[in-house]
Structure formats: structure tokens, C-alpha cells
Symmetry: C2
Subunit: 343 residues, 2 copies
């Protein structure tokens, strides 16, 4: 893990806050929240234990809006967040932004550009920005991001934005972490409705056509209308919400209150018949299913005899002595012997 | 699970072959191979046990080509397989085709169209077609597809094609099951290089521009050249292979021998310095890591006390009594008690 995303390393460079300090300072000191999120990304036992105590004593803010912002590279996600979050701050809200940084498949390197492109927000009172560590290092973005959302709620933020790069894997995970999924699209781009993007499009609650200013404004309007008629072909989702499309530009203030209204309309819809509470409950269940799977696996994987057998089998595969199917059969025999001891 | 993909149901309608029958008939009787693949997709203990004995007694053919065919809906995957596999059969090879059928995210339904569109192949001697069951039902396409590949090799097929629908998730899994990853692309489609498809493009060893006949031929040639110059910007992969692009049409025989040569060139490259053996070894390791994770998890998940606790905790989440983080903490306490008994 590169030094700058290794939580253990980062902490060496700063003081570690006590539970009492976290309790007292989490709402006022971004350093405290940042450190807690780093500890939630860590795999060290001490960090896990500390987080447990945090979850016990701190309370989550109600009425938080959890929103995903996604879109292909270059569509203007940072500019969007710059402009819209500034507007929210000016309206008196506290805003947290968590960019999720998946690693590119072939290079295993970071494909997130410059996270500090959100300059309008840096240093503003009431704004918190913290990129999440690589998905690959942690086996998916969901567990750590879900913990980070929880911590941001404990720190009293009103809006939590999860930004993803739009390459496809993390979007499916992030869909189950947020209330509202916003997809940013370029004006023009007629092929956008085709093929691979379709799966992500189908998850979106709101499509925003970006760069709707100057010469591109009329193109953006046509795109919005095209998407609108395309969306009318989609079936409503399980919460009876019909996805909408709207314009946005980060160069002008004219779309800000319109977007406020779109977001309000979504939440008003989701409050009906207790839908939001049900949706979040469903998400909690998914997180639990995922988490328990991991807990049970690690409990056995960390046993010396099993760990050693797995290493030996892995070597036998490398030497060509065993196929993975044969190695798994051998491991299963060891597990059958151990099984008798487990109550 | 719908009846037609439920292996247990399917077997009720036909006789179950014994191990001796499988050994005697697997190379000549497609019913035997088909039933073995169904049993490999099943989660029943009896099926697992039977497969173990099959893996023990049967041998895999060497010199098999494992090839993924992917591309967006409508690009012509079925027509491609129709045309190219007919050519391989005519050249004296035995060909197995395993369409992987991921489920659409929102509808949870099948998005694979008509699997029998490969009419030119149906009933031909030496061809075997069997769609794989839904990814969601089995937690990913890899474990069952990997077993199916193994069984096809035991049945003496020379070429094994894994066809995927190109929506993004299963491609990443399938990349690690095959030697050669072929991406089919439409002529034209200038946005194809943008955004979300990029990750899949980066995995491809060979891009084939389809429909290169009649009026579209010149468009296809331009597309091929565009992709060719785009590919020159990509770095070579870890096996030093530089991806290529070529034309194809299922309406004419003119591209068949060219494609033979492209595939041969790839395998010749991968035979150098033992690359193919190393690549397959790496894939075996990945399958083992994935498989052992699942084995260890299930070993504890099937214990009565743990199973019951998980169900109780899940109910507490549904009633809003516990968050998923609190539920996981409670499960961890139970596991700590059990831990002492495990040698």
C-alpha cells in the first residue's frame, strides 16, 4: 500500500485521539473525523476495537441525505461538487464528500485525477472532503465507505456525497450505500444509452446533463429531452420512483435551486409510505450479510493449522502438482477433521 | 430459481449417469457432459461429492484453447460464434460454447436473448453448447464456469468459448478463466473508446470489428484503423502482448483464415518463455483463493448456533433494533466464544 493511503503510516505523523476527544471534537474538528475514517479503513485489531467503542457511544444524525455522484471521466463531477456543495454551504448546510477511488484493472494504480480540484470548497467552514482508500486493498468499497458514512453522520453533516469514477464495479456497490443515485452525463453523446452504460443508467434516480451553458446549452437541452424520452421507456424502480433528467452547469447559478427541488422531490417521494426507512433497512441487511460472511471466513482463515495448509496447497498449485479443484478437495478434508471440535 | 435452470429439477427429467458411464461416455455423449456441468452448478452435497470423484478419475485434454467472446448486445456475438465455430468444426476441431448469462441488476431477470440463435451449429457433430446458470444464484460466474471448462477439457474439446453479454461485471471474472479475450465491436461507434467501456477494452487481447461486409465494410475499416491507433496508446499487458484489431463478418468466409492466424499468433506469443503455463497457474491460484474463502465461510455458516444467531441478528436489523455495525459486533462476540474450541 503506498504510504499516503496507509492508515497506519498516516497516524504516525499525527497524534491519535482518545475516545473522549473523539466524542468532544468530532463535530468541530475535521482532523478527528478524518482519523476515525482512516481507522475504519484499517485492518489492525486495535483500530477495529477502537471503532467498536465509537459506535457504542456516539449517535448518528437523523435527516441526513446520502447521495452518490457518478459519471464517466471528464463529465464534470468535481466541478459539479464544487458548485453545488458551495451552494449548500451558503444555504447553511454541512457537507461531507467521500470520493471513492477504484483502482484500474490493468495497472492496479489510481485512476482518480486530482482530488483537490474542488478548490472552491477547500478551507470552507462546514465542508469535509476525504478520498476513500483503494477498493482492491479492502476487498470492495462498501464496508469502509459504509463506516465512513456512519462517522460523517456522527459528525453532524447534513449531506454526504459519495463520488465514483464511473467505471462500473464500484457503482453497483455504492448504489446500496446511498438514498439517491445521480448520474452525470455529457451533452451530446448519443451512444450513452447503448450497451455497457445501460446497467449504471438503470440504477440512476436522476440524470444531470452537465455543461448546460454557452454554446453547449442547446445541445444539453436536446440531450435532456432525449434522455427524458429514453427514461420513459424504463420501468419505475421498486420504490415506484420514475427517474428524471435535468440540466446543470457549474458555470452559472441558474440550475442550483432547480436541483434543490429535484432532490427534495425525491426525498418527499421516499418519505411516503416509509419507503426511505425500508430502503435503508434493506441496505443495512446487505451490509450485515456481507460483514458476517467476512467475519466467519476470517475466524477460520486466521487459525494456524488452516493458514499453513492453505499456504502449502497454494505452493503445490504453483509447482503444478495440484489443480485448484484438487487443492480445494484437500482443504475440505482438513476442515472436516476440525469440524468435530466446533460446537 | 426458475425450473429450467434448476439443476435438481433438470435431473429429475433424465437418468443420472454413474461414474463409470461418465468415464465411458463423456467424450461421445453430450448429455453426459451437460449433466456433469449441471451438477457442477448445483449446491447439493451429493453433486459435489460426485464431481470430486470425476475430477479424480478423468484427465483433461492438453492444448485446449480457452477463449472469451464479449461485446455489447447487438454487436453480433451469436453470429460470430455461428460462423467461426462452423469453420472450426469443418477444420476438424471439437468446439464447446458456454454462454454466461448474467442477470440484469434491476430486474434480476435474464437479459440473454435467444440462446438458440446459433442455429448453424445445432445438431452438428463435435459442437457442444450449454448456457451457464445465472451468476447471482451462485455468487459469481467464475466457480461454475471454471468447473465447466475443466469438464469440457475432460470431454476432449479443442476450443472452449465463454460468451459474455458485455455488461461489465462478469467480464472481469471471465478474464481470469480464459487464455484469450476477444472483444467484438460495432463499426462506427466513435464513443466506444470513452468512459465505462475502457476497463473492458483494456482487458482485450484482440478487438474484432464485426459486420465488415457490404456497405458497412468501409466504415468497419475506418473503425479498425481508429482502434488500432488507440490501441497503440495502450501499454502492453503483463505478458508483453500488444492487443490487435481486425475485421470480421459472419456473412462471408473471407476473414476466417485471418482470424485463425490472429489466434495462432496469440498462442505462439504465449508459448514463448512459458507464458501460457504461468498465466494459467496464476488463474488456478485465483480460483483456489476464491474457493478456499467460500469453503471456510460455509464451514462456520452451516453451524447451527451461528446460523441461528445470524438469523436473530438479521431480524433485529429488520425491526430497527440494531444497526449492521452493532449486529456484527454481537456476532463477533459469539465467534470469540466458539473460537476456543477450534484447534
Amino acid at each position: 500500500m503506498p504510504k499516503h493511503i496507509n492508515p497506519a503510516y498516516r497516524r504516525q505523523t499525527a497524534k491519535t485521539y482518545s475516545l473522549a476527544e473523539c466524542q468532544r471534537l468530532i463535530k468541530s474538528d475535521a482532523q478527528v473525523l478524518s482519523q476515525l475514517i482512516s481507522r475504519a479503513e484499517s485492518t489492525l485489531a486495535a483500530d477495529k476495537k477502537f471503532l467498536k467503542s465509537v459506535y457504542k457511544v456516539l449517535h448518528r444524525k437523523k435527516d441526513v441525505k446520502r447521495i452518490a455522484i457518478t459519471g464517466a471521466p471528464g463529465v464534470g463531477k468535481s466541478s459539479f461538487l464544487n458548485a453545488y456543495c458551495k451552494h449548500l454551504i451558503d444555504s447553511g448546510y454541512r457537507v461531507a464528500i467521500l470520493p471513492v477511488d477504484p483502482s484500474s484493472y490493468t495497472t492496479r494504480g489510481s485512476i482518480l485525477g486530482d482530488k483537490t480540484r474542488m478548490d472552491a470548497l477547500v478551507g470552507l467552514e462546514g465542508v469535509f472532503i476525504k478520498p476513500m482508500a483503494s477498493a482492491l486493498a479492502l476487498g470492495g468499497v462498501a464496508p469502509a465507505t459504509s463506516a465512513a458514512i456512519c462517522l460523517c453522520e456522527m459528525a453532524d453533516y447534513d449531506y454526504i456525497f459519495i463520488e465514483t469514477v464511473g467505471v462500473g464495479q464500484s457503482e453497483y456497490e455504492v448504489r446500496d450505500l446511498v438514498d439517491l443515485f445521480i448520474l452525470l452525463l455529457q451533452p451530446g453523446g448519443g451512444d450513452e444509452l447503448q450497451g455497457i452504460k445501460r446497467g449504471i443508467m438503470e440504477m440512476a434516480d436522476l440524470l444531470l446533463i452537465t455543461k448546460a451553458d454557452g454554446e453547449l446549452k442547446s445541445v444539453a437541452q436536446i440531450s435532456r429531452d432525449n434522455y427524458r424520452s429514453a427514461l420513459s421507456l424504463f420501468s419505475i424502480n421498486e420504490w415506484s420512483w420514475k427517474p428524471r433528467s435535468a440540466l446543470f452547469s457549474s458555470m452559472t447559478t441558474e440550475y442550483l435551486s432547480g436541483l434543490d427541488q429535484q432532490i427534495e422531490a425525491y426525498y418527499a417521494h421516499m418519505e411516503q409510505g416509509n419507503r426511505l426507512a425500508q430502503f435503508r433497512m434493506h441496505q443495512e441487511q446487505l451490509r450485515f450479510m456481507e460483514g458476517q460472511k467476512n467475519l466467519l471466513y476470517r475466524r477460520l482463515a486466521e487459525k494456524k493449522s488452516i493458514k499453513e495448509r492453505i499456504e502449502t496447497l497454494s505452493l503445490s498449485i504453483s509447482s503444478g502438482e495440484l489443480s485448484h479443484l484438487q487443492a480445494l478437495n484437500s482443504l475440505e478434508e482438513l476442515l472436516e477433521n476440525i469440524d468435530a471440535y466446533i460446537p
